[in-house]
Point group: C2
Chain length 235, copies 2
């Protein structure tokens, strides 16, 4: 594998988008330092997936940060009193922002990634946001990522003087879910280790009906592949 002698920080959620993003960063030669968050989310099974993916990818470091987004609530992913929508007909960029939106989540995640990058001397942050087959979240749009990057380059000591600057890499932002899956497969991603469901059962088995499961299943179908994870009811 080629090496570029640069460190990258990769936001790794345990889902298929971030697993593919990690594989892309690794394939272009970065020394990969992953960061994952336990945010009291319902789908904490994702954390187990993140650990498994990081381990399989043999990366330089995997930092796990415990944060308390549930202190604020306001989302079906952090507040048990709000139900995760199932078989939602109104999915994707054209639809309303769903209740699974977590206020300022990517901003908080990228802020921690920025701190991590500055401490380890990295100027490259990778995030697996996607503006095509997504749930309509505002903090997945290219204009948001551009604004974060501009802010990051004013926020930090390591860019004072202007010789180096941070780049927020979004290698899958324009890909369809099927394209992401094909790309990851070509790079050897083991999608059986990934997890996407917003509403898994107590054993961590995916529901197959939340927005995230439906986007994932459609992606595998369009790619002409079979999703290797289990679904409730044995789908």
């Amino acid at each position: 594998m080629q090496k570029n002698n640069k460190k990258a920080v990769i936001l790794l959620s345990g889902g298929l988008d971030s697993a593919t993003t990690l594989a892309i960063a690794s394939a272009v030669g970065y020394e990969c330092h992953a960061i994952s968050f336990s945010y009291h989310q319902r789908h904490c099974v994702e954390i187990k997936s993140a650990i498994a993916i990081a381990s399989a990818a043999n990366i330089a470091r995997h930092k796990m940060i415990d944060i308390d987004l549930a202190a604020f609530g306001g989302s079906a992913l952090t507040d048990d009193s709000i139900a995760v929508p199932m078989d939602n007909p109104d999915i994707g960029p054209a639809g309303a922002i769903p209740i699974t939106y977590v206020p300022a989540r990517n901003t908080i995640f990228l802020s921690y990634a920025l701190a991590f990058a500055e401490v380890i001397g990295s100027f490259d942050i990778f995030i697996g946001v996607n503006a095509t087959d997504y749930s309509g979240y505002p903090d997945c749009r290219p204009e948001y990522i551009d604004a974060f990057e501009k802010m990051a380059n004013l926020a930090t000591a390591s860019t004072i003087g202007g010789e180096r600057r941070f780049t927020i890499h979004t290698p899958i932002i324009e890909l369809s879910k099927a394209e992401i899956i094909r790309k990851g497969t070509s790079l050897g991603v083991n999608y059986s280790l990934t997890h996407s469901c917003y509403n898994p059962d107590d054993d961590g088995i995916a529901c197959g009906h939340c927005d995230s499961c439906r986007l994932r299943l459609k992606g595998f179908a369009v790619a002409g592949m079979t999703d290797p994870i289990k679904y409730q009811g044995g789908k």
Copy 2:
């Protein structure tokens, strides 16, 4: 007191800048919701000050968030192996960025404040950054705050459609430390509750020699007032 029927989120550290900022927000009529962070900092005595200030100000809510910036290190304020500089001659905007800089700290704090604001329906965030009598931190500059505000308005569901937008208020950014102290005194801030030292002793008594103590002491001296807190050695 006048009321403007709007909620504000106030970053409250327990120092004199944020105590003054809270008093200003309250004086112009906001319903104030303070947010403080315990970040495993050496001067956790600041948290006790934040609680005392919030209590004295009789605000609507005080949210305390525990975050682990020590997981990264890289600063004298979060890493016990790095010494806090004492009697540093190279202080202020013209000097080098000191080792008390915490990577991406204000970005992480403002990101949480943004999440809190979005959940409670506030569009006004107050932060007591200061670009005059400060320690040269990049994330205290007006251009940084402007970039964060732009990013915040792309990050969040509540600004989609464009009818409302977030404002990051920095009411003391252009004031000298003496002007901040005079302003706060006129608004009834009890500075004996505040705490600024980077290096207090085990009883929480300020050292009088770190950058933060020296800026504070100079501010009171220029304002022609006596700092009501205790210093080590009874200064």
